[in-house]
Each structure stands twice: as structure tokens, then as C-alpha cells.
Amino acid sequence: MAGERPRRPTPAEPRRADVLEALEPVTDPELDRSIVDLEYVDSVEIGDDGSHVAVRITLPTAWCSPAFAWMMAVDARDAIEALPAVETATITLGEHMHEAEINRGVNDGLRFGEAFPDADGDVAGVRAELDEKARVARQYDAVEALLEAGFAPDQIVALRKRDLEEGGDEVVVYLHERAVGVFVPADPLERYLEKACETGVVSGPDDVLFRTPEGEPIAPDEFDLVHRRGRLARVNMSTQGGVCAGLHEARQQRLEESTDD
């Protein structure tokens, strides 16, 4: 725009990078990966005074579960609206077979059951199930990190929340009534703890840290099987991630080709 001086945002107004940063923790619930990293976010538009932000999202296929799409859209809306200076966020899901219901429902603040009257249950149940799977997959990574650091299975299954102490890039894990502390990479343990608390399997300091997929403490002789199930959950997620990534790419290509025509 010739002659027009670009307006400088005031410090409180979000920039594109702030919006993307806010969206980073929003995950595809099935893959437990960020929608930003998965490149589902097509565009970010920030209104003049920064009080309104519009985001466009495209999922890998038109058939992506409406419940999953709904969760991502709602989470994206809430994450952006939590930014200072932002009053409203509009989420536009494109190229989805239920985009009309989802866009209207999310932007009008409806509940899932109101947007989809013939849905047979609430979205909360689906979310809880996927969160549980994400917890199991993250547990695998956390336990791998502990095994790597030299912990034995019976030590791992006995760990309680109070045995962990944050320490920057590493977490100190205490053994033998705090007589011994071992440094372990923080990321897998913190990611696990975050989901374990979110799903409610771990809350108080005395709670046993690691659980079976059903949420029970792990008996030492079932450690291997439970760990295998965690591995399986991890494999399932990354497999599905592979499918989604492939479909995403195929779809982008098809859409580009049809625009070129």
C-alpha cells in the first residue's frame, strides 16, 4: 500500500508470532502433537487494534473426526482469547464435511451437543479417552528416560510424585527415602507429569507416579507388559501421525492443483 505507513502494534497487541506461540500447546488430540507443528494452521489475521484475531485451520482430510476437529477449534479459540488485548478469536475450519456446524458452534460458543444435536454423547468422553492414551504414550518416554538413567523396574514402579524435584533441563529423581538423587532429562518426565495430573491419575505428593493404562499402580512383575503397552500406544500415535501427514500433503497438493486449473 503505497504511501501508507505501516501501523506499529502497541506492545500489548499480539503479533503473528504471539498467536502461533499461544497455539503451540493446542494439540491434535489423537496424535498428541501441536497443531502448529503439524501445519494445520493456514492463516492468522489480526484486526486493527489487536482485539480480534481470525485463524484458519485445515485438517488432513474432510473426514477427520468432527469431535477431534471440535476440540482443536475450541482449544485454539480459548488459547488465543487468553492473550492480553485479544477480546475475540474467530476460528474457521476449512474443507471439512462438517465445517458449517463446527464453525458456527465454536464461534457462537455453543456446546458440542448443541452444534451436533444427533451426537450420541459428549465430546468430553472422547477427550478423556485420548488424554488417557496420550498419558500412556508419554509414560513410555518417561520410563525409557529412567531406564536409560539406570533405574530398575521395581524402583520405577515405586516412585511417587514427591520423589521428583525440578532442576532446569534435568529433574532430580530421589531414591531410598531421598538418600540418593539421580539427574534425568526433564522433558519426558515433565511432559508425562503434565498429562498425568491433567487426567487425574496423579495429584498428591504421595501418589504413585506410574500407572497401568487403566490407572492402577503397577506391580513389579507386570512392569514389562505395561511398558510394552506404552510402547504400543506410542507406535499407534506415530503411525496415525504418519497417515495424517501423508493425507495432509496429498490434500494440499490436490487443493493447489485445483486452484491452478
Binding site: 489423537e30 473426526s65 444427533d118 507406535v235 503411525t239 501423508g246 490436490r254
Partner: protein, 354 residues
């Protein structure tokens, strides 16, 4: 037949369709979305130079090309039809037993024809199943729990109504139940294709075999856990197989998990034709290898004996197919003559030390 390391591998493609997604047959937006979604899967996993054109080659390919693709261009010896009705989306249905019968009746030794049922059809549905069985002597059915039917967006295999149909299967001797439990298409929240309903059905009907198509993806974890406890649960590899093409490391990991949880006797190869064409897929899966890390970690092998089972012997076992007898028949059947396959079935390969 495929040949590897001096061994014959009899290939039964456990999952094929003869479908019609031509524009004239589509009656609902879902029909168009469905074939587009299939096409995305097709282009995602098919090597670029082997991809088909959506409108010219993919919506509808016809019986003749199917025979050529399976038996001339690919090393497939037999194939099992798995119907997918979708009559709310397609005027004549997408891929019905009757449509598949066109080919299955023409080459009865080469094809196994499966039927289908939908418990929401009630009494007429039970009659239809009986009629299908009388006409085609069914040994199996494919069931699509996510199919739309009017207001309904799906059903469960552990519903009371579904159990009536499974009882009918026992009564008729239809032993192989193939629930599609794969990538999602059903809308709404209790997202379809959830594999958990197989658990109760499988333990309630120990005389039936449940071949979970697409190994439950994207619920491989639920599937393996259920299959680990139910000995009559099998895994159909359609959709998992093409990972061998563009994500070989992931294929190795999936196969290692499956072999660890289910073992080599309960997995069945399937191309999902025409989603993927066995002409490249059979070879790709046969040539695939498990990574040394996975072999060590899981203690499983993808060796020639395992491949022989998964590519054909396991399906033969479920469908009472005598492989030696078939090979004898195939020395001079119509397909063999048409495509010059005599060498394939010529008998024991020379005691070759190759």
C-alpha cells in the same frame, strides 16, 4: 505366485473390492467425499509413477481391469471380496456382494465372495443374509459398523441386534467376520470404527473368527490388547501394508508390534484394491525388512516362513482352501491361460540351490 529365496509364496489378497464411485452412482455428498478420501489415501501411499487418475481410472475400473491388475500385473493367486454397501451414498451401492459376484462367479476358484449384514435391517436383514448364503455359499462377511443408515450414523458389534446376526452366522456356518476397524469416516463424537466392540463379540462367539480389517488403525493399541486376549481375533493388514512403501521404518515397527502381540498365525495380507494395487504392494511387502533394532527389541522375524503364512496360508486356513489342490487347478485354468502363468504353477521348483 511370488518367488523368494527359492520358495513359492501363494498370495491370497485378503481384501479387494470391485467398486463403483462414478458420478452417476453418487446420490449423497458423502459419496463424493468418500471416494475423494480414498483417493487421498491412494496418492499418499502409492509410488508417484503408479498413481491412477481419479476420474479416468479410480472412480470405476470394471471387472476386466481388476482381473488384469490382480492376476497378470500382480503376483496374486486368489482374492477375497469384502463388500462395502454404502447405499445411503451410492444409488446402486459402492461395492455390494452382488456387484462383486459378477467376477466371483466367473472365476470361482480365484475369488472368495464375502457377504455382509447390517443389524439395523432387522428381520429383512436376517432374511437377506440367509438368501446371500443360499445363493453364494458364504464363508465370511464384511461388516461396516460406521455405515450411515438414515438418521443412524453407525452401529456396534456388541449390540443385541448385532448378536442376533452373529448367531445367524454361526447357524449358517459363516465363520469369518471381517469388521472394518480402520481410519475414520463416521462423523460425530463417539467416533466410529472403535475396535472395542470386537472384544465382547469375540468372547461371546468363540466359534467365529473376527478378522479386524486395517488392524484397528488408528487404534492399533486397543486392537493388539484385545487380540492378545481373544484367540479368535485376527488382523487384516490392509492400510498397514502400504507403509512398507513410503515409511519402511514405521512398517517395521507396526509389523514387529503385530507379530509380538498376535504372532505369525493371525495376520492376513490385504491390498485393499483399488485403494492400492497389489502389483507394487505385494512386492514391496515381500521385500520389506524389519530393522535390526526392532528384531532385537521384539524378538520377531519377517522371514520367508512368516511371509508365506501372512501372505496366504493364514487366509487359506480360515477359508478351508487347500493350497496344493489350488495350485494343481491353476496349472491350466482360464486365468493362467489368459496371462501365461503356467510356469508359476508348474509344480515344485527344481531343487534349486540358487
Amino acid at each position: 505366485m511370488y518367488h523368494q529365496d527359492g520358495e513359492d509364496v501363494f498370495v491370497i489378497d485378503g481384501h479387494v473390492h470391485l467398486w463403483d464411485a462414478s458420478e452417476e452412482n453418487i446420490t449423497h455428498q458423502g459419496g463424493e467425499e468418500f471416494i475423494q478420501c480414498f483417493y487421498d489415501y491412494h496418492t499418499t501411499f502409492t509410488p508417484e509413477e503408479r498413481q491412477w487418475d481419479l476420474d479416468e481410472e479410480y472412480r470405476q475400473y470394471g471387472a476386466e481391469r481388476m482381473v488384469t491388475d490382480l492376476f497378470e500385473n500382480a503376483a496374486v493367486d486368489m482374492a477375497i471380496f469384502q463388500p462395502t454397501y454404502l447405499t445411503d451414498f451410492y444409488d446402486e451401492g459402492f461395492n455390494t456382494t452382488e456387484q462383486n459376484a459378477e467376477l466371483a462367479l466367473e472365476y470361482p476358484e480365484r475369488f472368495v465372495l464375502n457377504g455382509s449384514f447390517d443389524p439395523r435391517d432387522g428381520e429383512p436383514g436376517l432374511e437377506y443374509l440367509e438368501e446371500l448364503h443360499e445363493t453364494y455359499d458364504l464363508k465370511g462377511v464384511k461388516v461396516y459398523t460406521a455405515e450411515w443408515r438414515g438418521e443412524s450414523k453407525g452401529w456396534r458389534l456388541d449390540d443385541e441386534e448385532a448378536f442376533e446376526f452373529l448367531e445367524k452366522c454361526v447357524e449358517l456356518g459363516i465363520e469369518n467376520i471381517h469388521p472394518h476397524k480402520g481410519p475414520t469416516i463416521r462423523p460425530l463424537n463417539r467416533d466410529a470404527f472403535d475396535v472395542k466392540d470386537v472384544d465382547d463379540a469375540a468372547s461371546s462367539f468363540p466359534d467365529l473368527n473376527f478378522v479386524v480389517e486395517h488392524v484397528g488403525l488408528p487404534r492399533l493399541d486397543d486392537f493388539c490388547w484385545i487380540a492378545g486376549q481373544e484367540p479368535n481375533v485376527y488382523g487384516g493388514l490392509a492400510v498397514a501394508a502400504p507403509f512398507a512403501q513410503n515409511r519402511p521404518g514405521k512398517f517395521s515397527e507396526i509389523m514387529s508390534e503385530l507379530l509380538w502381540w498376535l504372532g505369525e498365525d493371525r495376520l492376513l495380507f490385504g491390498s485393499d484394491y483399488a485403494l492400492w494395487n497389489p502389483d507394487w504392494l505385494v512386492e514391496t511387502v515381500m521385500e520389506a525388512e524389519l530393522t535390526p533394532e526392532h528384531r532385537a527389541e521384539y524378538g520377531v522375524e519377517w522371514d520367508i516362513e512368516t511371509k508365506q503364512k501372512v501372505m496366504g496360508e493364514n487366509a487359506a486356513e480360515l477359508y478351508d482352501i487347500d493350497l496344493e489342490e489350488r495350485k494343481r487347478q491353476f496349472r491350466e485354468d482360464e486365468i493362467t491361460e489368459a496371462f501365461g502363468l503356467e510356469d508359476h504353477y508348474a509344480g515344485e521348483p527344481a531343487a534349486a540351490d540358487d
